[in-house]
């Protein structure tokens, strides 16, 4: 049923309900009044009473009736109106509500459409993003792979560095520490963070292997940094810990260049264990050598007494054999002497007792001693001196120098050329500066010589068998002899040059040589000019 009709119908009902009862009751009342008054009139007429009062009452009643019912009707009508208005308003609201709802529905639909649109857009965007994401993921995947690889490398190197038993210290081009590994921390007893940013030379106390504090120029890190052509310096040093314990170490400092940046990498290890082993070995050699001497002496003494025919005559052959025995014994004795020397040098039980000697006369006296043997072999030895220093007095250990020089001169005599005219040995004493010396000695010997300004150089030159180039690097090795040397002198020990080199180094100098196979050799004994501290 159409809305408006329904509304009208309802309004009609309400009016009807409000007003109809009043009409009914009004009609009834009016009827009552009429009836009443009609009766009255009749009564009065019958009674012959005056009708005035009745008529007055009748009019009064009518008036009252009109007022009352008029009022009631009005009231009800107003009520009906009120109700109607309320209903109208209600209906209006309902209608408005319906309209609103319809509007809202419409809006809703619009929104939904919009949402669908937007959702669609979003989906498209999401798809785009997903595609982009995939692309990024791919790149990220690659990056991740190479990052993982790098990380792996880093871990690998880190693990290697960590687990290297040797201490590792990395420094920049100023010698400032940038990194330590764990072994270094443990060996030094200092945490990494305390050392990073400090200079190595200032923060870690080091002495040379003999326990003498390093002079500034001797520090391996500094030497590597200031040198143009020394890529690495290595050697034995002593580490002084914070608690004043001293640990012997072997340190290598190497210069590292990488795309313009320079740094130094120091690797070091505790060699106390090695030193103990060395010492034990040395002591063993020493003990064994001593023990060997006793039976050898017995053999020697008895053989000599036999040869002297002290206990009976001998035939020629017997004398010959005994003579060979004695020679062999002498060789054994010499070998033991050399072994003992070596073991003493190795274990550094060598005490250097310096005194002032004049080198020229010293050399001449040695030559005099060897003169007999030299003459026997037809060699001539010539001693010259061309040092500009006013005096050729050296502050040196005579005994040790004697051992060195005798050894070298004997070598020159032993390995001299076969032709008589060439059996000349030239001995020359000169002076040299520190820089000149560094030019003629190999770099690894730099840290072995005393850092003084001037040196004596004793040249011992022969024209003999020489040393083949392939053997040059081994010539100072223990027991090493070149093939031609063995042929020339079958019973050498191979210890002579080893001992000579160590003794010169023990005196703060060094031993070097030049040689050409079959042409001859020149050996250079380099000794530092040291002041006698005892004087003034």
């Amino acid at each position: 049923m159409p809305e408006k009709l329904r509304q009208f119908f309802i309004q009609f009902i309400i009016f009807f309900l409000a007003v109809f009862p009043v009409f009914i009751t009004g009609y009834i009342r009016l009827s009552e009044i009429e009836t009443h008054f009609t009766r009255l009139v009749i009564e009065y007429k019958q009674a012959g009473k005056p009708l005035d009062i009745v008529l007055a009452d009748y009019e009064k009643s009518h008036r009252n009736f009109i007022f009352l019912y008029g009022f009631l009707i009005l009231g009800n009508a107003l009520l009906a109106l009120f109700i109607t208005l309320t209903l109208n308003s209600f209906f209006k609201n309902k209608r408005h509500l319906k309209e609103y709802i319809a509007q809202i529905k419409k809006l809703n639909e619009k929104l939904e459409r919009k949402i669908i649109e937007k959702t669609f857009e979003l989906q498209e965007k999401v798809q785009q993003l997903e595609r982009a994401n995939k692309a990024i993921l791919n790149v990220a995947g690659d990056l991740e792979e190479s990052r993982a690889k790098e990380e792996h490398e880093k871990i690998k190197i880190g693990t290697i560095i960590k687990s290297i038993g040797e201490g590792l210290i990395v420094m920049d081009e100023h010698g400032i520490i940038t990194m330590l590994n764990k072994a270094a921390e443990e060996l030094l007893g200092i945490a990494q963070k305390e050392l990073v940013g400090q200079r190595f030379e200032d923060s870690i106390e080091m002495e040379n292997e003999k326990g003498v504090p390093l002079i500034v120029g001797q520090h391996p890190v500094r030497r590597v940094l200031i040198s143009n052509h020394t890529p690495a310096v290595s050697g034995k040093y002593t580490l002084v810990l914070k608690n004043r314990d001293k640990i012997p170490i072997f340190l290598t400092a190497a210069l590292v260049r990488n795309k313009g940046t320079t740094g130094v990498v120091g690797v070091f290890r505790d060699i106390s264990q090695e030193q103990v082993i060395e010492k034990t070995r040395s002591e063993f050699v020493s003990l064994a050598s001593h023990q060997l001497r006793t039976p050898i002496t017995a053999v020697k003494l008895f053989s000599e007494m036999l040869i002297d025919e002290a206990v009976g005559p001998l035939n020629a052959k017997q004398k010959q054999y005994l003579s060979d025995i004695v020679i062999s014994i002498e060789r054994m004795v010499k070998l033991i002497e050399d072994l003992l020397s070596v073991s003493r040098i190795d274990s550094e039980r060598l005490k250097i007792q310096r005194e002032i000697i004049d080198i020229e006369s010293f050399m001449k006296s040695i030559v005099k001693e060897i003169k007999n043997v030299a003459d026997q072999r037809g060699c001539t030895i010539d001693v010259k001196q061309t040092c500009e220093e006013k005096s050729t007095r050296v502050f040196i250990d005579q005994k040790l120098l004697r051992q060195v020089v005798s050894n070298l001169i004997m070598n020159a005599v032993n390995y001299a050329d076969k032709e008589k005219e060439k059996r000349i040995i030239d001995i020359l004493i000169t002076c040299a500066t520190n820089s000149y010396v560094k030019k003629i000695i190999p770099e690894k010997s730099y840290n072995k010589i005393l850092p003084v300004e001037k040196f004596y150089v004793i040249h011992i030159k022969d024209n003999g068998i020489g040393i083949p180039k392939k053997d040059h690097y081994r010539i100072f090795e223990k027991f090493f002899r070149t093939d031609i040397a063995i042929k020339t002198i079958p019973d050498g020990s191979g210890l002579g040059l080893y001992i000579a080199k160590l003794l010169t180094e023990a005196m703060g100098g060094t031993l070097t040589f030049e040689s050409e196979e079959k042409k001859g050799s020149t050996f250079y004994v380099i000794l530092p000019m040291v002041e006698d501290e005892r004087e003034g």
Binding site: H290, T294, T297, A298, K300, F302, E304, M305, V333, K351
Partner: protein, 123 residues
């Protein structure tokens, strides 16, 4: 008096010195050494350093502290040749120090004669 623990060396030196005209008495270890010196009062003591019971240096010290014995010249004949040992021996009063392995019998005898001559001069 020869104080030496190696039996072979003892025989060698004994024979050699005997042939050179000396009378030789031998002590084989540090324990009997001082007693034998007291008993025999030798003209010269040839002393080894490495000995059982008591070593050569200790024996030398003991002898030099004994008024009766300190005048006897002592020559050390040992196979230890280190400078430190030689110095110590001479400080303790040995008149000479010979390294056994380096000396033949003849040379040993010559050196002993030198020592005799020197100590005779001292009177």
């Amino acid at each position: 008096m020869l104080i030496e623990d190696d039996k072979f060396l003892c025989r060698a030196y004994n024979d050699g010195l005997d042939r050179a005209g000396y009378e030789v008495v031998i002590a084989y270890d540090g324990g009997e050494a001082v007693k034998k010196i007291r008993d025999e009062k030798p003209d010269l003591i040839i002393l080894d350093l490495i000995l059982p019971i008591k070593n050569g240096f200790d024996i030398l010290e003991e002898i030099k502290q004994d008024d009766d014995l300190k005048k006897i010249p002592v020559v050390i004949l040992s196979n230890h040749g280190q400078d430190a040992d030689i110095q110590r021996g001479k400080e303790l009063g040995a008149l000479d120090y010979l390294v056994k392995a380096n000396f033949s019998m003849k040379e040993v005898v010559d050196r002993l004669q030198d020592v005799f001559a020197r100590s005779a001069k001292k009177g």
